[in-house]
């Protein structure tokens, strides 16, 4: 219990408080003393990225067929797998090409993304714990599957606030509903305003997805404004009667924000004012790329508007069978949109301060079960990063000659999280929240910033 008898404390409540900062809409400077927990806060040290776009490939994308080039696996294709004698190794059915000045090897499944090789840092030494979807997926998102913990996006929002008060600070597009569902973007013990806002759900078209309660079905904008005016008049009267009430100020302000959001959100989600070239670049209008193209384009639009953390989900990458057909169609659906996102961010000068992360909950075995399917492989897999503060054109970490296990610069999800937070200027050991009598971290007691990834 503390008594604070300071002038500042009184001023805090007497001034315009929360409302003032929020009305300013796009605010860029940290607002000290503001009561709105979502106003931008200064990071622990200078950040290299202001925001994150996380491209989440649900199901465990095969690393040896995409970003982890394994010539020895190809050579020994058909031989018995060293870790599973009853299974046979299978070299990737796709060839790899070297791209860019860096000559990074990338599979033919990603011809468009290949052109961005010099911006990509391939992380080939990922290693998780559990080769089960739900556990690994939760761990990827919250750092824990044993306990209900806040999502990485919630932590980022808690640490930094967000730049546009007309929009949620953490948005997840087409999230997975199983394997932990909303827990993957939930705020757990962090206050509810840090939780992710979901738009759409996995495997459904984003074209028809809606933001909850954003539209009034009954009144025109002017009639609604008149209604709101009377409502606010009542609220102001009450505030006057109360003399001082930050809660009432908060309510009054939240209505103004909501009213603006009704325009801001649908406008932002309406991509029809984008040029034909842009839509084409993202593959919107072409059946196989349309949905993920929309997700990527929306991600750019949200990023541009100041949203702190944006996650896009694409499934299903769980190819126990029909690897050839399904993996190829997954890659076709995502390659062009992701490449477009990177180009678009770059041409707008945003790639340098946007961290883009691609990855799934684990990788797939270099050996095959049936003729054409790979199983779960958590001991070694790949992710990649690009943009804000990432040294592109390199591979960090490595798996063994076949891609079974990480052997060099091994990195787990805590390390991934620590590194992501680092680019945002947050020290993962200092970003703590007190709950149930102790301080919690996203990385628990683990996590290592993998410096090799950083520029």
């Amino acid at each position: 219990m503390t008594f604070e008898f300071s002038r500042r404390n009184v001023l805090k409540t007497l001034s315009c408080g929360f409302g003032y900062m929020a009305l300013a809409g796009l605010t860029t400077e940290a607002a000290e003393d503001s009561q709105n927990p979502l106003t931008p806060k200064a990071p622990h040290f200078p950040a290299t990225a202001k925001r994150v776009i996380f491209l989440c490939m649900r199901g465990g994308p095969s690393h040896v067929d995409t970003f982890d080039y394994k010539p020895q696996l190809l050579k020994d294709s058909g031989k018995k797998a060293p870790n599973q004698k009853s299974r046979k190794l299978m070299g990737s059915p796709w060839s790899f090409q070297q791209y860019g000045e860096s000559g990074l090897p990338i599979s033919d499944l990603f011809p468009h993304l290949g052109k961005h090789a010099d911006d990509l840092c391939l992380i080939n030494g990922m290693a998780g714990e559990v080769p089960n979807h739900p556990q690994a997926y939760l761990k990827l998102h919250t750092g824990s599957f044993r306990f209900v913990r806040p999502s990485v996006g919630s932590w980022a929002l808690y640490g930094l606030g967000t730049e546009n008060q007309d929009l949620p600070g953490f948005i997840t597009l087409n999230p997975e509903t199983r394997v932990g569902g909303a827990q993957n973007y939930g705020s757990s013990f962090l206050p509810a305003y840090y939780q992710g806002t979901a738009i759409g759900q996995i495997n459904q078209s984003l074209a028809n997805a809606r933001f909850g309660n954003i539209k009034n079905a009954r009144f025109s904008e002017s009639l609604q404004r008149q209604q709101l005016d009377l409502l606010q008049e009542m609220n102001q009267e009450l505030l006057k009667k109360k003399e001082v009430s930050s809660e009432l100020e908060g309510v009054i302000e939240s209505y103004e924000l909501a009213f603006r959001m009704q325009n801001a959100v649908p406008t932002l989600m309406d991509v029809s004012n984008e040029s034909k070239e842009t839509l084409e670049m993202y593959g919107i209008g072409v059946r196989e790329t349309d949905n993920f193209g929309r997700q990527c384009l929306l991600a750019r639009r949200f990023a541009e508007s100041g949203v702190r953390f944006i996650e896009l989900c694409h499934g299903n990458w769980d190819q126990h069978g029909n690897l050839k057909g399904k993996l190829e169609s997954n890659c076709r659906a995502t390659d062009r949109p992701i490449a477009a996102l990177l180009s678009d961010l770059k041409q707008r000068g945003m790639l340098k301060d946007t961290l883009v992360v691609w990855g799934g909950e684990f990788g797939r075995t270099p050996h095959v079960k049936r003729k054409d399917g790979r199983d779960h492989n958590a001991t070694g897999f790949s992710t990649w990063m690009a943009g804000g503060g990432v040294q592109g054109g390199q591979r960090v970490g490595a798996t063994d000659e076949y891609g079974i296990a990480a052997v060099e610069n091994k990195m787990n999800f805590h390390d991934l999280h620590a590194t992501m937070l680092h680019t945002l200027g947050l020290d993962h050991t200092k970003l703590t929240y007190r709950y149930a009598g102790r301080d919690f971290r996203l990385t628990d007691v683990y996590g290592r910033v993998v410096k090799e990834i950083l520029a």
């Binding site: 008149q226 109360k242 003399e243 009213f259 102790r438 007691v445």
Partner: protein
Amino acid sequence: MSRLLFFQFGLLLSAVLLNPCQLIGQEEITADHLAFFEKKIRPVLVSHCYQCHSKNSKSLKGGLALDTLEGIREGGDSGHAVVPGDVEGSVLMEAIRYESMEMPPKQKLSQAVINDFQKWIEMGAPDPRKGAGLIKREIDFHDAKKHWSFQAIQRTEPPSVENEAWPKNSVDQFILAKLESKGLRPVSDASRQVLIRRLYYDLIGLPPSSEQLQAAMEDDSPDAVENLVDRLLDSPQFGERWGRHWLDVVRYAESNGRERNIVYPTAWRYRDYVIDAFNNDTPFNRFIQEQLAGDLLPGAGDNEAIATGFLAIGPKLLNEGNREAFVMDLVDDQIDVTTRAFMGLTVSCARCHDHKFDPIPTAEYYSMAGIFRSTRTLYGTKKQQGNRQGSSLVALEIPEAKKSAAAKQKKQSELLKDELRAVQKSIVKLQAKTRELANRKTNDKQYKPDAKQSAALRKSLSNARKKSSGLQKQIKNLGENDIEFMAMGVQEGKVADSPIYVRGEVTGRKGTASRGFLTILESDLEQRLIENAQSGRKELADWIIARENPMTARVAVNRVWHHLFGNGIVRTVDNFGATGESPTHPELLDFLAIGFQEQGWSIKRLIRRLVLSRTYQLAADYSQVNYEIDPDNFLLWRHKSQRLDAEALRDAMLLASGDLDLSPAQGSPVSKLRGEFGRGNSTAVAKAASQHRSIYLPIVRNAVPDVLKLFDFAEPSILVGERPVTTVPTQALYFLNSELVTSQCDRLARRLLAKTSMDDAERINFAYQSVLSRAATDSEVKRARKYIDKLADDLSVGDEDRSQLMAWSGFCQILFGSAEFRYVD
């Protein structure tokens, strides 16, 4: 709780140096060996390890000291660091090879250095170092006992006050004395109207209807307020309000959540049990006993069995393959909810290491774990994909009238199952035959299959399959009733003490802990537990509710205070440990705790006492003088204005519109589901409209209804004694645009327009009374009429009745959306 190494050691822990109990390392050391140690080993230890693992390190990590022979041999929390001659048994090797822990954390040592260590251990780990022995941190219980909440509850007389006319009861004396000592004066009393609204919401979670409001306003008898309070306490809605507060604390939900969201179709029975317990004013000590050990109480019946659902409804790692790991996580959830809900102690922080702040050693965590390990938890999810840890349920008494039906059904189900087995057998046979024909064809090129025979075979196979799926459906339909007389709960299991697991990992066993309680709250009940052949749950409950236990009554009283006053006397309602806050009024807390114990642990009497205090009945007014001294209202110079919680918001809207069904809902929509939520069953169930009170809405983890979630409903996977209160634009959007709000506005508008005996001014007044529990002022009436008329004109949908309805509905929406509706003064 997970591993925590980097947090500061609390003040309660003191470092003491122990003499090593057995002397190790009196071996002779050869000169070669000595040279090897000095050249290859010691420098590495000094430069890479001592920073965290020596007596000079700021905090000794992992309980491991590497700067003495004794320290390095004995090891830390993870086991012996170095075992001479045994490379694989030396944890230090694992760590430097980055196999388990990764040490040193900054960078792995070079392979050459690692080889040196291996060689050194192989040669017997010669080590000439001497020193003060190993460092162990021990809890000084005597010192720890000084923390306020561990001290016995003190009986104090209410203090005298200067303004003797002010207090209505002894609670007020404590409050006023403190205010006076700081030079503060309480604000004025709340108006009758404000008090009535406050009492309705606080006690039953609903506003008064306009008739109830009027009656209460007109009652000018001297004990009008007392009578109102008694009526509300007796109302069946009381249990629905206060039961929900308890459900927050016990992480109540109807599904598992976690990685596999498997439904709990019988969880609602526990919900109903809680509501009934509050309505019946079950003594709180009995309430605790029933939830922890209802099955062990004399004369236990269904009610007591259902009560133990408390231990079964938590989220579980159902897909865990390792049974022991699963059990220990389940036990952890039970320890956590038991110790925090009843005693405000975070005992599960001690799972992996001694509690960093409170005097709870890991060994005592495992003493409690033994009690729950000796208990069978029955939660009723079936083994299936994604659920490796199935369990049955507790069977309840089948009512006489239903017995024959149940028996008949069981028999029918068995017959069907027999039939199914037969059909499945025939399918296997037919399949074998088909294969045989196919093989013959491949092996014998001359063989010409008989087309007729093949067709007949195909037909029989398809018929058999159809029959099989039909039977399966029938069995499934019958199975819908399989849980009609079942409940979640616990029973006695195999009684045994628990192993102690180093760092909470089931791979790191280090001795066992005999079942028992916490040393800091010592009790002779422990002896009874040891003598008794049972799990010890009964004794655990008795230990928790013992008069001498200083935590339980204080925690309970504080929870009630928190709900009535908006903050606890101890603001951290779930944490009375060293990291929690201290009570603002410690004497008052003890005074109330003793009264609670002496008055039969009655929640209703406690509430009555508190709401009849003058402190509770204060206005929520601002006072600049007081505000400057105590802006956070720690001293209670005014009443705290509180945001309606999610349930009250929804219930009040439904009540005003005339839509609310006050009868208790029967069971839950979730009871119709089986298996994983959303897989092979429809998630629509969780969203279906309901006219019952919000406590009866289905609570599926990760799928909490929007109206609840948006307004800070307690996250059902964790224990929540105090809900956060947020104000965010998505709430405003909900009032502006949601289906639920607009439909309630329409209904209220219809209700108003149907009052043909009223004129518009009276209708407006009725709306104010229904939504805001007060009359409208003249100017408000005028303003509202102007708004409604204009809106009806502007809408001009062609149909006059419809325009009117929409205009009135638009006006009702303003009332529902107003801050005045959302806050209770």
